[in-house]
Symmetry: D2
Subunit: 144 residues, 4 copies
């Protein structure tokens, strides 16, 4: 029996001026970009990026995203975005996220969240069964 490994990675970010709102804290919409950047980093590291998915004949749009904000982030703050792949049976890609404000020795959990992606074919039809390339990817990474 194969144990399910946990696939995860991290992305260090520096809060940009354009991401902050008039309350001087990161605007909630900016977190969408933090999650997307983390997916991108994950995708490149594990071979599941948009271009690979597209080269295999699919789009992988989000069908669900959720954010919980625990602590504000300010302009100039350093933070770490952790992304974890959540194994699932269906033809979906699930990720969970944690954003940690880096404060020297003490880090503070700033936000958590999750996203769900499905597969569409090139005619934008929903793919109900896991595409072969994704099944292969799961096997290769011990998450099938």
């Amino acid at each position: 029996m194969q144990s399910k490994g946990q696939l995860k990675t991290s992305n260090n970010i520096s809060i940009r001026f354009s991401e902050v709102d008039s309350m001087n804290i990161v605007w909630h919409g900016s977190y969408v970009l933090y999650f997307e950047d983390a997916r991108e980093i994950f995708g490149k590291q594990y071979g599941l990026d948009y271009l690979t998915i597209f080269a295999n004949g699919y789009y992988a749009p989000l069908v669900d995203m959720q954010f919980s904000f625990k602590h504000t982030l300010n302009y100039g703050d350093q933070a770490r975005v952790d992304i974890t792949y959540v194994p699932c049976q269906s033809a979906k890609i699930l990720f969970e996220y944690e954003i940690w404000l880096l404060k020297g020795s003490e880090n503070i959990l700033a936000a958590t969240g999750s996203t769900t992606q499905v597969f569409l074919d090139k005619e934008y039809g929903l793919v109900l069964y896991s595409p072969d390339f994704y099944t292969d990817w799961k096997k290769k990474n011990g998450v099938l």
Copy 2:
């Protein structure tokens, strides 16, 4: 016993070029703006906009937001964003959203979601009890 009225409003939008991604569909991050615009419209209509909240001594940042995408929206599409205030006991502002793609006689549910806001005072401290102005607002609108 007072019946709880349902406070809701709608915002008609036209999908902009900048909101669409390379799949030719609305980028998921754009929905954050659709929800925010709807809150703004609601706020102005019912007297609960950011400026009013701020004038009463508070910020009302989001602590939670959730999106479910049901049907794609394309550049040039016409859509309607429905926002409904969800009454609650705690010192929070809860909204639910539905985005409808307008297709003549037949409308298609494109997305649903929700947001939760809390109150911070001007020193960014979390306000645990409902601010007076918010309690008054609830009374006035029959949602206390």
Copy 3:
């Protein structure tokens, strides 16, 4: 000899929360959207929108854009974006813009700017001669 008419239109906007930065004024990047929305309004009114251009076999990306900021815009401000088509001989689309802060009887010029678009064919090749549909459009609108 045909006199060259001046094609222009306007778009009224309300400054959104997401468009404002931590200085409490509209972030300079937001003006890109104000100009794009104005082009969109112009395009729909005069039949030169992205979808029409695309339906005729072309893209019309920007090759130049310029902004001058004269007066700050704040969250909640009402403003009017004026867009004027600038007739030219070459295979380009030129627009000039003015953004006016609406303050009752007194309006204040908040920003000016310009954009230049060229035509690409569907293989992204630069089109050196004015496409037929654009020449027809110019004739029809008295700007050839």
Copy 4:
């Protein structure tokens, strides 16, 4: 006589999915962010970032920005943003930018542009004379 040194730095970027439009190329508005990120990198390297300016009692909003697009950038492309400080007598901060698409041995100039910033005091009043801290900064960096 002091020779004027040239202050410049570079920022390597990877084109993100959210920055690309439905033509599959970087949306023109994304360049505003590329320039802003370059200013940020420059500011941190040379001690002229927003936080330093703010700590000295000033804001430094843009009053002018200009972009020329020479070559498209696509999702996944690697590029380098060069930013150069342009010495000037007046109480302004001038930068010039070049964005190079990195294609192995051959790099392609993708865009150029410039920005001008002025100084506002904390009451948002325009500062006509160069603030002392900025004059000191110029001296220290050999650009007075």
